[in-house]
């Protein structure tokens, strides 16, 4: 039986194999059952990669679809200090590209960390140079960065988004929930080289970008308003200036600007003082522009008519142990003339005739002392005390725009109500929200807050306000060929050193609308602390005229006295 293994050898081989199988079995139980959870995590970590994706922030457009803010992927650079052999040398290579001092970079790269940001949201060219350099322990990733391609245009309304792509100010903050892209973690399978093989979430829907916003703002009107405001602020040496242009029939804001402006692309270390939207965060004493609201109340209550006679006391009148002065001494004058000459004494008399509570009710109706609910963050209510807290002179003071704080937004909403025939509209800057397929998901319709005066009163007051421009203090707001209605205002500011009204610190303003017969534009111009001649009619009214003329031309609104031709007969 040579060649046949003996029984003993069979036993040895069988036993050996049995032990081997038992060993394998024990090992399998150990790996697959006892250490299953731990090893699964370890394996997943090696061949799976979880990546957090965030959809791009939505784009902001003007009313004609011009891009005002949008996202773009730009490179950010990080270091892995634990894998760096020579941090000093790496810092030397990076310094000229990142424009950061070598010492500063080296300090970051010597930290006992596995990951450290070196610079974020760089220019695309910097990213390309870094990739060409291919340094060990240094990586480049793409991150969304907010761009404001028009620079400072509309900066105070747009606001800005921070480094983490979150809205921090203005529209960016107000509509953060709509603009922000969807955030989702996706798991990718990796091969031995670390490349993504087949994303598990491939069949899932991609990460959605944020919604887009279409504003009521018109880029061209905004540019015209900013240009003329900047020019006026520079010319008068003023501390700042504000301008708002609206469509009085809808409450839509066509332009809103604050001077000096800032570039939201480089907010950097600018103080909040620079990017605060003073059109709604700062209240001021309106001065004589408040006489328009007084006149509206007096006409509506039939306390006065345009022809009612008021005695001007020859420019000086005592009220509650104080003296009220007029800049132009007047005897008898009509109610309309009182508005056109901007007589403080006349206004005080009308206010006292109306009475505290009646006047207060109209001020509240016109929206003073309350937020206008404009869709921008940071709006203040201004200051309007209850008549219970008024002094003996208060009704006279408020009638001429003192002892009351208003925001330019409140004032333009009130003027808009006179322009459109008596309806207080809700001011708004958002026109439409569109989803990623460019379909509208929300639209802002013109919203009437309430009727404040009758159409007839509004029409009468419009005629009186036209007189302010043609025969009164607002002559510099004239726009050739158009009927302009408006009112000037010059208010003294409280001197913080003395606590009393200053004769040097003034606010000059002008409010109005055009064309008076069918208003298409309402506008407020406020110039804060101009130097030299500071009357509203001198510093603010010309801005109204210049902006108004250019915007009317741009919108193609013909003058009332313009040539009428029949196209068919035209010989042009």
């Amino acid at each position: 039986m040579a060649g046949v293994p003996s029984r003993g050898r069979w036993m040895v081989v069988t036993t050996g194999m049995m032990f081997a199988f038992v060993f394998v079995l024990i090992r399998l139980v150990n790996l697959q059952v006892l250490q299953a959870a731990e090893l699964t995590i370890k394996a997943d970590r090696q061949h799976q990669k979880s990546v957090a994706f965030e959809g791009a922030r939505g784009t902001i457009y003007d009313r004609h679809g011009k891009v005002l803010a949008m996202n773009m992927d730009v490179p950010s650079v990080f270091g892995v200090p634990s894998s760096l052999a020579n941090p000093g040398q790496t810092a030397k290579h990076l310094s000229p590209i990142l424009h950061i001092r070598t010492g500063e970079l080296e300090k970051k790269l010597r930290q006992e960390k596995h990951f450290v940001w070196l610079a974020r949201k760089l220019e695309p060219e910097q990213g390309r140079r870094l990739e060409r350099l291919a340094l060990d322990g240094v990586g480049v990733v793409m991150e969304g960065r907010r761009f404001y391609p028009k620079g400072p245009l509309l900066s105070h309304v747009l606001g800005f988004a921070g480094m983490d792509d979150r809205g921090l100010e203005g529209i960016e903050l107000k509509y953060e929930t709509f603009l922000r892209g969807e955030k989702r973690v996706v798991i990718l399978q990796r091969d031995a080289l670390g490349r993504a093989v087949f994303p598990k979430g491939l069949n899932e829907k991609g990460v959605a970008a944020g919604h887009s916003l279409v504003l009521t703002i018109d880029e061209v009107i905004q540019y015209i308003a900013e240009k003329e405001l900047d020019e006026a602020v520079n010319r008068t040496g003023a501390k700042s200036g504000t301008i708002i242009v609206t469509n009085p029939k809808t409450g839509a804001i066509l332009a809103m600007a604050v001077s000096p402006r800032f570039d939201p692309n480089t907010v950097g270390a600018l103080s909040p003082d620079r990017w605060r939207n003073r059109a709604l965060t700062d209240s001021y004493e309106p001065g004589s522009t408040m006489k328009v609201v007084l006149a509206a109340a007096a006409l509506e209550e039939k306390v006065m008519s345009p022809g009612s006679m008021i005695f001007g006391e020859h420019g000086q009148m005592a009220v509650a142990n104080t003296i009220i002065h007029d800049h132009e001494k007047s005897g008898w004058m009509t109610f309309a003339q009182m508005i056109q000459r901007s007589s403080n004494i006349g206004a005080a008399k009308v206010g006292m005739t109306l009475g505290d509570w009646r006047f207060y009710d109209y001020l509240k109706e016109f929206g003073f002392g309350d937020k206008s609910d404009i869709d921008l963050p940071g709006e203040v209510t201004g200051l309007l005390r209850s008549p219970r807290e008024w002094g003996r002179r208060s009704v006279a003071s408020i009638s001429m725009g003192q002892e009351i704080g208003v925001t330019p937004v409140q004032m333009i909403a009130a003027i808009g109500a006179i322009a459109n025939g008596g309806l207080l509209m809700k001011p708004h800057v958002m026109s439409e929200i569109r989803n990623t397929k460019n379909l509208p998901i929300a639209q802002t319709k013109p919203q009437v807050r309430r009727r404040v005066i009758s159409t007839e009163t509004a029409r009468t007051l419009t005629h009186i306000m036209e007189g302010v421009v043609t025969n009164g203090t607002g002559s510099k707001a004239v726009i050739p060929g158009y009927r302009v209605a408006g009112k000037t205002g010059t208010a003294q500011k409280i001197d913080p050193r003395t606590g009393a009204y200053s004769s040097a610190l003034l606010v000059g303003s002008f409010v109005g609308f055009v064309p008076a017969e069918d208003p298409q534009l309402a506008m407020i111009v406020v110039i804060d602390e101009p130097r030299g001649e500071s009357w509203g009619g001198v510093v603010a009214a010309p801005v109204f005229g210049k902006v108004g003329e250019q915007v009317l031309n741009y919108l193609g609104i013909p003058a009332e006295e313009s040539v009428k031709i029949a196209l068919a007969d035209s010989t042009l």
């Binding site: 087949f198 491939l202 040539v563």
Partner: protein, 112 residues
């Protein structure tokens, strides 16, 4: 019979393996296309930013005045003309529709 079974089993195995390999190959291909798409989208966004910045009214106004020596029309130099609504005219090749802008003291030209 055994040969047929063997062939069928082998074919199915090969089909299965081929399918898995192809899935991986397509996975890589999709990844490449996605990377390409991302790059193209990035380029598109860059161009949109550039276009938007180049068409900024401020830049256009500056270029008009500095490079082309253009100036703003003087006060009252632009007259917008009311167009009376007329019955639909028979359109001539050089007829003009819409609003007409006439600049004072300037030759008036018709354009389509």
């Amino acid at each position: 019979m055994k040969g047929i079974v063997f062939t069928v089993v082998m074919s199915m195995t090969l089909l299965f393996v081929w399918e898995r390999v192809d899935v991986v190959r397509l996975g890589y291909h999709i990844e490449r296309l996605k990377s390409q798409k991302v790059l193209l989208e990035r380029e598109r966004d860059g161009l949109r930013v550039k276009l938007s910045s180049l068409t900024s009214p401020e830049r256009i106004a500056r270029a008009a005045s500095d490079k082309l020596s253009m100036g703003r029309p003087e006060k009252g130099q632009i007259i917008l003309v009311h167009l009376e609504p007329e019955p639909p005219p028979i359109l001539q090749p050089d007829s003009q529709q819409g609003e007409v802008r006439v600049a004072k003291n300037m030759p008036v030209r018709r354009s389509k």
